[in-house]
């Protein structure tokens, strides 16, 4: 079979099993778009801005575990995609981005819409390829998917000059079944001796903590994490990226850790004697000040990426391997072991944790006449029966969603954790809804974030992806305002948005349903009404208390044991006294 480069590309995507491709046409990819037009296997989702394409593909990938696929043109198309590529890179999301390039003979001549995409994307991709020969397209696409989806996943860019997709040049097509790269052999199984040592250490623990992250979600090891944790009976804390990997409603779950983690999770980390980090990378938002991090603990770390180990925090027992097989081996070893967890010590430890929990660090003013954002998330949780896919943007609303929506399943919580990309949530929700058309999909956002990719409301209409946008509207860039309140004597420098659009009219202008909610008692009925409209995208503009802050909080340069609590911040007592 002889095909043109453009046809080979699309056919390769089909043979790779790609369902959706998120993109935007332009000069350098016109041959590819023509090939797309002449087939029905790969469905193209036309976004309104290339950043939206990457976030939608990212949302699709996070919700399914399958790689997200993006197609953009050269120059501005490619640079617009960079933010989304970096977002996926920081959170280890599998993604293949195909970018058009100017024709090979004019590369380097500052041609129209030329940009060095290989150079620009290099620091934020797992790998990238420039295809210089039509005969190499199929193999390069196979390699791109292989690299993007194996080991520690990540985005891969394939840059294709326009002449390589010329419809007049046809070559034989064969999609390789397998591909190997001699310089790329990601670890799978962990070192047996290390795993044994880790289990021995775990079984001697008196104040253990299981600290698990996004690697458990990405590595499909939620079931194994749950079995492992329940076999031991140890407390579990999840990172922002790991929420849902362990069921939040289980009694062993003590909440998220880190900057806005729970008091019990952070105190538990601080006081712990043995910590096992599973698919987590000791991010600075998790550790707080490094030299105060977990002063009494011996640390075990399981990660598929050797470079994540001892990068910021020195660990005692490193295990390089995929989380799932390593946990399976650990479970077997624990079951076989003559040793059992130290019951007496655990009883004391759990008592201590319960004392910390009694502080109720997530409590807020439920009698306020204003809408409290935490209340909205709690209502969202109830209305969706805890079973929705929730995407978010970045800021206070993101933290409240993470704190108050109790995720029991992996891949339900979809947010930009590493890069912290405002504008991520709504296009990501479109990708999620395409992947799971029957599921409830909510995008928790704020009036600042939502405006960064608002144009994708148009995409949501075109492809009938009925999502529910929960806009916690506090007329501030809330997290910026909070930091300015705490660290800059409330000088609210440019964090106030005083010319907001009428979001109801805006939603209607885009063909959706808009609702404005400004009283606490309207929240529940409005959410119920919105989720009952199965085939409509609904924009809920919820006017919340402007002064609300995210608590607890570890401020910059402080340790886990030094948290700012709501009760302390309002002047009644201090966290030290409470501890």
């Amino acid at each position: 079979m002889e095909l043109s480069g453009a046809e080979i590309l699309i056919r390769s995507l089909k043979d790779e099993g790609v369902e959706y491709i998120f993109g935007y046409p332009g000069g350098a990819v016109l041959h590819i778009y023509d090939a797309l037009f002449r087939q029905d296997d790969v469905k193209h989702i036309l976004v309104r801005h290339e950043q939206g394409a990457t976030h939608a593909a990212d949302g699709y990938a996070r919700a399914t575990g399958l790689p997200g696929v993006v197609l953009v043109t050269s120059g501005p198309g490619a640079t617009n995609a960079v933010t989304g590529i970096a977002t996926a890179y920081m959170d280890s999301i599998p993604m293949v981005v195909i970018s058009g390039q100017v024709p090979s003979p004019v590369i380097g001549s500052d041609a129209f819409q030329e940009v060095d995409m290989i150079g620009i994307s290099r620091p934020c991709v797992k790998h990238n390829f420039l295809v210089k020969d039509v005969n190499l397209i199929a193999e390069t696409i196979k390699k791109a998917f292989y690299v993007a989806t194996t080991g520690r996943p990540g985005p891969v860019v394939v840059d294709i000059p326009k002449d390589i997709t010329d419809p007049r040049i046809k070559v034989p097509y064969k999609y390789p079944k397998k591909v190997s790269i001699r310089s790329y052999n990601p670890a799978v199984a962990g070192h047996k001796g290390q795993i044994k040592k880790a289990v021995d250490l775990l079984l001697t623990a008196e104040r253990p903590m299981i600290y698990s992250g996004g690697g458990v979600v990405i590595g499909e090891a939620s079931k194994e994490l749950t079995e492992f944790s329940q076999l031991l009976g140890y407390p579990v804390t999840n990172t922002l990226m790991g929420l849902g990997a362990y069921p939040a409603t289980d009694k062993q779950f003590i909440g998220m850790l880190g900057m806005h983690g729970t008091y019990e999770a952070n105190m538990g980390m601080h006081e712990s004697d043995v910590i096992i980090a599973i698919g987590a990378r000791f991010d600075d938002r998790v550790t707080g000040k490094l030299d105060m991090f977990c002063p009494y603990a011996k640390i075990i770390h399981i990660d598929v990426d050797p470079a994540s180990i001892s990068k910021t925090v020195k660990v005692d027992i490193p295990i390089v391997g995929e989380v799932k097989p390593v946990l399976e081996q650990m479970i077997d070893l624990i079951k076989e072991s003559k040793k059992t967890p130290n019951k007496k010590a655990l009883e004391t430890w759990w008592k201590q944790i319960k004392d910390w929990q009694a502080i109720d660090c997530l409590e807020y003013d439920r009698k306020s006449p204003l809408i409290k954002p935490q209340f909205v998330i709690e209502q969202l949780y109830e209305v969706t029966k805890g079973d929705a896919y929730v995407t978010s943007d970045v800021g206070q609303h993101q933290m409240w969603a993470a704190q108050y929506y109790k995720f029991d399943k992996p891949r339900r919580w979809i947010n930009s954790g590493g890069l912290g990309t405002m504008g991520f949530g709504m296009p990501a929700a479109i990708g999620v809804k395409l992947a799971h058309p029957d599921a409830d999909v909510a995008c928790v956002t704020g009036e600042a974030s939502i405006q960064m990719c608002i144009q994708e409301l148009s995409t949501a209409l075109q492809y009938k992806t009925p999502i529910k946008i929960v806009n916690l509207n506090n007329r501030f860039m809330g997290m910026v305002r909070q930091w300015q309140e705490f660290s800059y004597e409330s000088r609210y420098s440019h964090s106030y948005l005083d010319t907001l659009p009428d979001f109801v009219k805006l939603a209607e202008a885009y063909g959706h349903v808009g609702m404005r909610i400004d009283k606490p008692e309207q929240v529940r009925p409005a959410l119920e009404e919105a989720f009952a409209m199965k085939d409509r995208t609904v924009f809920l503009d919820i006017i919340t208390d402007q002064t609300e802050n995210v608590y607890p909080m570890i401020e910059n340069g402080k340790g886990h044991h030094d948290m700012k609590l709501r009760i302390a911040a309002t002047g009644t007592t201090t966290d030290r006294e409470l501890a």
């Binding site: 790998h127 310089s183 470079a307």
Partner: protein
Amino acid sequence: MRHIISILMENESGALSRVAGLFSARGYNIESLTVAPTEDASLSRMTLVTRGSDDVIEQITKQLNKLIDVVKLIDLAESAHIERELMMIKVKTTEKTRAEVKSMADVFRGRILDFTPETYVIEVTGPSEKLDAFIAALDADSIIEVVRSGATGISRGEKGLHL
């Protein structure tokens, strides 16, 4: 501490910029860097001299290994090895100093590659320290130009860095 990291990588365009980019992005320093093809045309050998604590060097080697184009690498400083760097140095000479410069070059086993009535071009090969010492031994005012290749190295014994 000074480390010589020897890298076997795919001989592809862009491979060098991936390594250089990694160093600048993560704030590691590069003292010298040389790269050339090997007997296998599909592979390049890169020798990179850097400084850092053990932790930093460990991160550097891990991050380098993560690059898809990197096939294999070793830190030569970890075991017995031979280090060589080539230097060509152009110095001013006069009738009075010519003999002295020549004998200095002999001490360092240098070779005169070119001379004019007023200059010498001297080639010196050896570990980077030796080249430093030769430069220090010369009258600083007499040096017109220094060209150094950057260090390269190879391990002693039977083991080697190959596929």
